[in-house]
């Protein structure tokens, strides 16, 4: 297994995602002899995981079962240990598309944070691209390096422990794209410009507050960036369910066109239910609450020098 390449069977040292049920997953590092406790019982790595096919059902000691899944950046995003606030898949997807990322792209990122976006970038730019990621927090940088190694993507990434606003990305004229997720992105715009290729490239900055966006856009304009565009994407997850709508009782009628007929007119199944009738229909309801804001995404193009 690797985050940039699928494999069929689980091997020692792999990171697998244990799927316990809807919205309940956990990442596990496979080690022979090790055990993992779940609410359905224990999973013994040697017998239950190693040599099994990804996606297979594993029966735990208490008789319950779980699925073991191949890791993907998307699964990792919902399972990773948070060291910072992270970027989620909806924003990541748009960042990837709008930065024109593809195999071979050279990308700069700061800060590395918990590595949620980093894994996605690595997946997309492999096997010929490279990620230069800058994290000023020594412990986080160290942890990221370790994770990249465990996930077998360290050949595609360079982690630098420095302050991007003061010292930049540590490279000049090689990047196709730059991504900024820092409190004061406007202070890193010069460094971003320097890191990008002479022939130009794309930039994205993620900021939760509009004042940050305002200052960033100003800095981008002053540094000759073009096509500056700020947007926001919100994801709605719909809950698929059957809803039952009772039919009102108008009392007995003279002719035979009764409410039962009406129900079938509604082209749905009617269920006689202790005298009253109701209609069951399949629908999808939006959640009662949803993430209303993550951050503004500001994109820009660096023109040719």
């Amino acid at each position: 297994m690797s985050f940039v390449e699928y494999s069929e069977l689980i091997q020692e040292g792999d990171v697998v995602i244990i799927f316990l049920g809807h919205d309940s997953m956990m990442p596990v590092k496979v080690q022979s002899g090790a055990q993992t406790q779940t609410r359905y019982g224990v999973i013994r790595h040697s017998s239950d995981l190693i040599g099994q096919r990804f996606g297979s059902k594993v029966t735990c000691s208490k008789g319950g079962w779980v699925y073991v899944l191949h890791p993907t950046p998307e699964l990792w995003t919902v399972n990773l240990p948070h060291r910072t606030q992270i970027l989620y898949t909806t924003d990541i997807a748009n960042i990837t598309l709008m930065l024109d990322l593809k195999p071979g792209s050279v990308v700069c990122e700061s800060g590395t944070g918990s590595g949620s976006l980093s894994h996605s970038i690595l997946r997309t730019i492999a096997p010929t691209g490279h990620l230069h990621t800058v994290e000023f927090h020594a412990q986080r940088a160290e942890k990221a390096i370790q994770e990249f190694k465990e996930h077998k993507v360290s050949h595609l990434v360079t982690v630098r422990n420095q302050d991007v606003c003061a010292e930049g990305f540590g490279i000049t004229g090689v990047a196709d794209a730059v991504f900024l997720d820092i409190p004061s992105p406007w202070e890193a715009v010069t460094h971003a410009k320097r890191a990008l290729k002479r022939k130009g490239g794309r930039l994205c900055s993620f900021s939760p507050c509009i004042e940050q966006v305002q200052r960033t856009c100003e800095a981008l304009l002053n540094h000759g960036f073009e096509e500056i565009c700020t947007l926001e994407v919100l994801l709605r997850v719909h809950d698929v369910r059957s809803v039952t709508l009772p039919l009102p009782d108008f009392g007995p009628e003279e002719d035979c066109t009764n409410s039962t007929q009406m129900a079938s007119d509604l082209s749905q199944k009617e269920v006689p239910n202790t005298g009253n009738t109701s209609v069951i229909c399949k629908t999808a309801t939006p959640p009662r609450e949803m993430a209303g804001h993550t951050g503004y995404l500001t994109f820009a193009t660096k023109p040719r020098d």
Binding site: H22, P103, L231
Partner: protein, 483 residues
């Protein structure tokens, strides 16, 4: 490794045959650069010949006769700013006479070959109210006029971003109203990356196919399932991929899926089939031939009677040769087609694809159920549909059938912002809908067990588990299973 790579400009020069994206303002158009080809874009026509040899990203202005000229310095427009400005609009009256230039005057200016910027300056100079407008209103006025009269065109290298925005802006009907942020979700949720084997079924003009291919970078394989007579690929062609990308692209007709699944897909049968096809095609050919022959036969006796024309003989021989050649070509083509089908079938038969992407105008449910069988366990799949209800059906069906987890029905909202000093707000107009997605992950199925579960003969613990996995929404699972 990356540190030493310096981009040479040689590879980023526009040349004949390239597919490019033209940009004017926020409007895009995809064209192929051809010798002396007239391009019509935003009510203007021009030739791209002068762009050849220039670098991608160059801005051009259109000169008389439709030739392009690289624009020297950008940002000349700043000189239009006037120092004088009003505070508010209490004294500005709309009498329709603030612009002293008439329509005809402006037309005359245009005919004189005045540059866009100069026309805008003329409009400003002849506007009696301009200096009374607020600074912001002046900026807005200039921006609006610039948009109308300045017609600079930028030539860009195609990318998913540009083509997806172009299709969404120009021809959303052709791509089932798939908005670019939704396409972004498709590519990410599908974990599309180099080295994998992806099945794509789309009727989005080839845009989705192209975007998948871009993300694979020529590594791995893409199997395009197509309805009808052949795959649509115009959108994919617009990406201008290098030829080795095309070697990773395979195609398989949807109408042969059942045969493949049943193991009755006979490739030699395909041979006879294509022969049947061929003979149908050739049928018309051969009927022509025979009619031709009979004509000749008819004329022959006459010829014989008069004299044998050696020239006529030669012509006939030539025709005969040409016919043979054509038949040979057809045979080669058929053989190629058969080989292509065989290779696609071989890729599918492993039933170990790494992903499935569906985005079509067809009902997604049968497509998903049919094609999911070719996907390996623990792989993502994504289904796009312009409407929500068909995806609800897919969701229900998958729950019933099993083999998929983490099912999510989603849609996204996209909001653009105007960011300007003291004038920051959401853009007034936003897209009403970019379609819906159903995504999930495949898992191994043990069909016998699944059937048992439906007959509710499972031990309590497992059923409990099943219910839990079936997410909150399946409290009325029984009602569903009746459907």
């Amino acid at each position: 490794m990356a540190e030493c790579v310096y981009d040479s400009d040689a590879e980023s020069a526009i040349s004949y045959g390239d597919y490019v994206v033209l940009k004017r303002g926020d409007v895009f158009k995809s064209v192929q650069v051809e010798n002396k080809k007239k391009v019509i874009f935003e009510k203007q026509w021009f030739f791209l010949d002068n762009a050849v040899g220039q670098l991608y990203g160059t801005m051009f202005e259109i000169e008389a006769g439709g030739s392009l000229k690289p624009k020297a310095v950008k940002r000349a427009g700043d000189s239009l700013d006037s120092k004088e400005a009003g505070q508010d609009n209490r004294h500005i009256v709309d009498d329709g006479r603030s612009q002293k230039l008439t329509r005809d005057d402006i037309e005359t200016l245009k005919e004189q070959g005045l540059k866009g910027q100069e026309i805008v300056q003329q409009l400003i100079d002849n506007s009696t109210t301009f200096k009374d407008k607020t600074e912001f209103a002046q900026a807005k006025y200039i921006k609006k006029k610039k948009k109308k009269y300045e017609s600079d065109i930028t030539v860009l290298k195609p990318s998913t971003r540009l083509l997806a925005m172009m299709y969404h802006g120009r021809e959303p009907g052709k791509i089932c109203h798939l908005r670019y942020d939704t396409l972004a979700q498709v590519l990410t949720l599908g974990n599309i990356h180099a080295g994998s084997k992806i099945i794509v079924f789309e009727t989005c003009a080839g845009l989705v196919l192209g975007s998948v291919m871009e993300r694979m970078g020529g590594f791995g394989s893409v199997i395009q399932m197509y309805p009808g007579g052949g795959p649509t690929r115009a959108g994919m062609e617009s990406f201008g991929f290098p030829s080795h990308f095309h070697e990773t692209l395979h195609e398989f007709p949807l109408c042969k899926v059942n045969a493949l699944l049943a193991g009755t897909l006979d490739l030699s049968e395909k041979d006879t089939d294509s022969q049947a096809n061929g003979s149908r095609l050739g049928g018309s050919d051969s009927s022509q031939e025979t009619s031709g022959v009979s004509e000749e036969k008819n004329s022959e006796p006459q010829n014989m009677e008069v004299s044998v024309d050696p020239q006529e003989e030669m012509k006939r021989a030539e025709r005969e040769k040409l016919r043979e050649q054509r038949a040979q070509e057809k045979k080669v083509k058929m053989e190629e087609k058969r080989k292509k089908l065989a290779s696609a079938a071989a890729l599918l038969e492993g039933r170990n694809a790494d992903g499935l992407v569906i985005a079509s105008r067809f009902h997604p449910c049968p497509v998903l159920m049919g094609l999911l069988k070719f996907v390996a366990p623990s792989r993502p799949f994504v289904v796009y549909c312009q409407y929500r209800e068909p995806l609800i059906e897919c969701y229900t069906k998958l729950r019933e059938q099993g083999g998929a987890i983490s099912l999510r029905l989603t849609d996204s909202w996209l909001r653009h912002y105007q960011v300007l000093p003291n004038r920051t707000h959401p853009v007034l107009l936003m897209s009403g809908g970019g379609g819906y997605l159903l995504s999930g992950t495949t898992v191994a199925t043990d069909t016998a067990k699944a059937r048992n579960q439906h007959k509710s003969e499972e031990p309590a613990a497992k059923r409990l588990k099943l219910d839990e996995i079936s997410s909150s929404c399946d409290s009325s699972a029984k009602a569903i299973s009746v459907v």
